[in-house]
């Protein structure tokens, strides 16, 4: 099978490539880049003129809910939502039921994902059995079976001694320990960021310090053990500063940030939200959208870590721009509608993120905070470097995982049309710019927007 992707602007930060060129795929590999006049016989030609072609996005952090919570999401529906959002490789968190504690559990995820046949799904295993924080899981065995890292995500590894040993073991298998940084006592009962909005609404807040003390602890333990630490979804300015200090000391600590923490703030909980997308000088973003007001106490804004302040958001954007934060990760966390149709205190934490990630991130491009190339870099090669994955690039011989985007197209978020079972997003009804037109995994078109694509010759 020989495929030509014609006329797209190919943006591949791993190759420093940003040019209009045709790509030739053969048998699931990238084999050549050719000019428009190049003749040749192709089994299939995909028209990407006027569009952007990039390596498929790689998500280091998502929740697919299977096994155990198939009413929220399955590996199949989650994979479908992923490819619809342009993600060709997704790393899923082990806080399922049962949790992913053993090599057999890892194999179950991999086998189920193969049957779904969409995105590449790569599981993380737990740090501690059952995420109970009492005894370490069999990390090396799980690594051997294909786990890409270890995390008790949803909760932190509270016991500093266990975290120390988990990091020490990471030297042995080379896989990162991914910590959800949250001091459980400081954050106890907190349903949003602690600050002006939580005071106003009478909601219990999680102070930024609850995240930062754990980030600091983990960095010191990584320093002490030489272990491989990855900080999940950091959300505060203080965490950014701690990361900066760790890097300055030469520690191999990586970090990710979510699209919602890059674009949304605690004001969304207040219901007076717009995107707050202002440049450093307070200049409104180019093409500002009309302000869209959501109701106060919208439970769909409840996420952990919580949406923070504008100051935090700006620090995250700047840290991403300067390369301090390695990767953008969705923390896709689907829930049932009834998990959100309740009071703010009762509602589940999480935002269904695959299908709005690109649209949110292009707001950063619109605001002039980050060029498109940098957004793509943080969605492709950088997450792969952080976790040692062989994807995220369109170099010759690389797996033919790629995404075709139309950054100009405007669309309105309609969760009824989500592929994910999780309809939980505060973006419902919002206009976003930029859509995934087609997604290709291993040379196969696994997602395409109807009638947008290509003709077969």
């Amino acid at each position: 099978m020989k495929t030509r992707i014609r006329g797209g602007r190919v943006v591949d930060p791993s190759q420093r490539r940003d040019e209009v060129v045709d790509i030739v795929l053969v048998d699931g590999r990238v084999v050549d880049f050719i000019g428009p006049d190049h003749d040749g016989a192709f089994d299939r030609e995909i028209d990407a003129r006027g569009r952007v072609v990039a390596p498929g996005f790689v998500d280091l952090h998502c929740h697919l809910r299977e096994p155990g919570f198939e009413d929220k999401e399955t590996i199949a529906t989650g994979s479908l939502a992923a490819v619809a959002g342009g993600f060709t490789t997704i790393c899923c968190m082990p806080n399922t039921n049962p949790t992913i504690d053993t090599a057999g559990d890892v194999e179950f995820i991999l086998a189920t994902a193969r049957r779904a046949g969409l995105a590449r799904v790569i599981p993380l295993g737990t740090v501690t059995r059952g995420e109970r924080g009492k005894e370490l899981s069999d990390a090396s065995e799980m690594a051997g079976a294909g786990a890409i890292g270890f995390s008790d995500d949803g909760r932190p590894v509270v016991d500093a001694r266990l975290m120390r040993y988990a990091l020490a073991n990471s030297v042995r298998h080379g896989k990162p320990v991914v910590d959800h940084c949250e001091d459980p006592e400081l954050a106890a009962g907190g349903v949003m960021n602690e600050g002006r909005v939580s005071d106003l609404l009478g909601l219990n807040g999680q102070p930024a310090a609850a995240e930062e003390v754990m980030v600091h602890r983990d960095i010191e333990l990584a320093r002490h053990t030489g272990g491989r630490l990855h900080l999940a979804h950091i959300s505060t300015r203080g965490s950014v500063e701690l990361l900066r200090a760790a890097r300055r000391d030469g520690l191999l600590v990586t970090a990710e940030v979510t699209p919602h923490h890059l674009t949304m703030t605690e004001d969304w909980v207040l219901g007076s939200a717009d995107f707050g997308m202002r440049n450093a000088g307070g200049v409104p973003a180019r093409n500002p959208q009309p302000t869209f007001r959501t109701p106060a106490y919208d439970t769909r804004t409840k996420v952990n870590p919580p949406l923070r302040t504008e100051e935090d958001r700006r620090a995250l954007v700047e840290a991403l721009a300067e390369g301090l934060i390695d990767a953008i990760a969705t923390d896709h966390a689907p829930h049932r509608t009834i998990d959100k149709d309740c009071t703010y205190d009762e509602a589940a934490f999480g935002i269904s993120g695959f299908e709005t990630a690109l649209g949110l991130l292009l707001r950063l491009v619109d605001a002039g905070d980050l060029p498109l190339v940098e957004v793509i870099r943080r969605l492709t090669i950088e997450p792969c470097r952080a976790f040692g994955l062989p994807y995220g690039t369109l170099s010759i011989g690389a797996p033919a995982d790629l995404v075709i985007l139309d950054p100009g197209v405007e669309w309105t978020v309609d969760t009824d049309r989500f592929h994910s079972k999780g309809k939980n997003t505060p973006l419902q009804g919002h206009k976003l710019r930029g859509r995934v037109v087609a997604t290709i995994v291993d040379g196969r078109v696994v997602h395409q927007v109807e009638q947008e694509l290509s003709r077969v010759d």
């Binding site: 602690e194 600050g195 002006r196 909005v197 939580s198 005071d199 106003l200 609404l201 009478g202 909601l203 807040g205 102070p207 207040l270 219901g271 007076s272 869209f292 007001r293 959501t294 109701p295 106060a296 106490y297 919208d298 439970t299 009834i338 149709d341 309740c342 009071t343 703010y344 205190d345 009762e346 009804g429």
Partner: protein
């Protein structure tokens, strides 16, 4: 729903004449310039005998509720209101209107049989997820005095215990014919969730640590009764501010009416942003961690209930220590202004946040607060049902109040 103090409506009443309550409600919309232009000279001319026709376009135009996107309706003019969730979006004119209505209700309460048929045929449902005596009974008596039917639903002994969700319960009660839901819930924002999802007028009777609008109204009303006004008065609220819906609603209500509000309590019981030196203050209030300093010269002292069950050994080392530093004693009350009054939202822990002799002393207006609570809730129920009825163009909305009270 929450706006910054600076952007709030002017603190003046939007009209001069007092031609009955309905007329005032209309006039109070004077700051609402947009609709003024559309409807021409609103005000006296548009005031029909039954007080509603001239308002209908406004009501319908602004009848946009979350989650439908769009700007919230302007806060002036009670007649637009579909819910009473908090006082953060009440103008002073609107609060004054509640007070004026409550004055009429007090006249009713002074009658041998304090009943009028103003809300005859209406069903008021008290949906209480938290135990409450005074607020629930106060609403019940208020509704009955107005001739409404009252149903009390408590979390215990109902399908709520069987796991029915808040929204399903509210939906069911609406389907059963509830005209107003009076909601008390342990979670902040619970009444808002109902208001967003279900087409039923909601009165917040206390949600978590967020708001208790009728309590704040009755507090302000009681203060006004004593001083004749609130402008420039200094009101000191003492205790567990962080967990107090009364303090939050009073911050809005009292400051809108021109009073200065001071929050005082130990640092562990103050909202965190009031402690941070650079943070934005969520409310237009001052704060202090030392009662002996804060109490100097204030006009109103309002200690809050210390929630015994959750504080000791945690946010508070001991209640004894708390009482030493923060109890309202006779000595401390004497440092307040000469005519200062003592209020308490109840229930009281005598000997903890307030000494018994002070609580029952000549400065105390606590019993007046309770009595005024009935009048305020009658006023709120009456005004809300009137505005909703007008909006629905249903039969016989409550007409001019004097008529309905006959």
């Amino acid at each position: 729903m929450i706006e910054s103090p600076r952007s709030r409506a002017p603190r003046t009443r939007g009209h001069g004449s007092d031609q009955g309550l309905e007329a005032k409600g209309q006039g109070s919309g004077a700051t609402d310039k947009g609709t003024d232009q559309e409807s021409g000279a609103r005000g006296e001319k548009l005031l029909p005998a039954n007080g509603r026709q001239g308002t209908q376009t406004r009501i319908l135009a602004s009848h946009v509720r979350p989650p439908t996107p769009g700007p919230r309706p302007p806060s002036d003019g009670w007649v637009q209101r579909q819910h009473v969730l908090d006082l953060d979006d009440f103008s002073s004119a609107e609060i004054e209107r509640v007070f004026d209505t409550a004055d009429s209700m007090k006249e009713v309460l002074a009658r041998p049989i304090p009943r009028v048929p103003a809300l005859r045929g209406k069903s008021i449902v008290n949906l209480f997820y938290e135990p409450s005596t005074r607020t629930r009974v106060s609403f019940e008596i208020a509704a009955k005095n107005l001739g409404a039917d009252v149903v009390n639903v408590a979390a215990g002994g109902s399908s709520i215990e069987k796991g029915e969700t808040l929204l399903d319960t509210a939906r069911t009660l609406r389907a059963l014919g509830a005209d107003v839901l009076v909601v008390r819930h342990k979670d902040s924002g619970a009444p808002h969730v109902i208001a967003q999802h279900i087409d039923v007028p909601v009165i917040n009777a206390g949600d978590g640590t967020h708001a208790h609008p009728t309590q704040a109204l009755l507090d302000a009303y009681t203060i006004r009764q004593h001083f004749g006004h609130l402008q420039g008065l200094r009101v000191l609220i003492v205790g567990d501010i962080a967990h107090s819906r009364v303090a939050r609603s009073n911050a809005w209500c009292l400051s809108t009416l021109g009073a200065e509000v001071i929050f005082c309590g130990p640092p562990t019981l103050l909202p965190p942003t009031l402690l941070s030196p650079e943070g934005h203050r969520p409310w237009p209030v001052e704060s202090d961690v030392r009662l002996d300093r804060a109490v100097e010269g204030v006009d109103v002292v309002m200690p809050l209930r210390v929630q015994l069950e959750r504080q000791e050994g945690n946010r508070l080392a001991s209640l004894r220590e708390y009482a030493r530093d923060f109890a309202i004693t006779r000595a401390r009350l004497e440092r307040a202004a000469p005519r200062a009054i003592l209020m308490h939202p109840g229930p009281m822990n005598e000997g903890v946040e307030v000494d018994a002799d002070v609580a029952h002393g000549d400065r105390s207006v606590i019993q007046e607060q309770v009595t005024n609570g009935v009048a305020i809730r009658m006023a709120v129920l009456y005004l809300l049902v009137s505005s909703v009825s007008a909006a629905e163009r249903s039969t016989s909305p409550a007409g001019p109040l004097e008529e309905r009270l006959r």
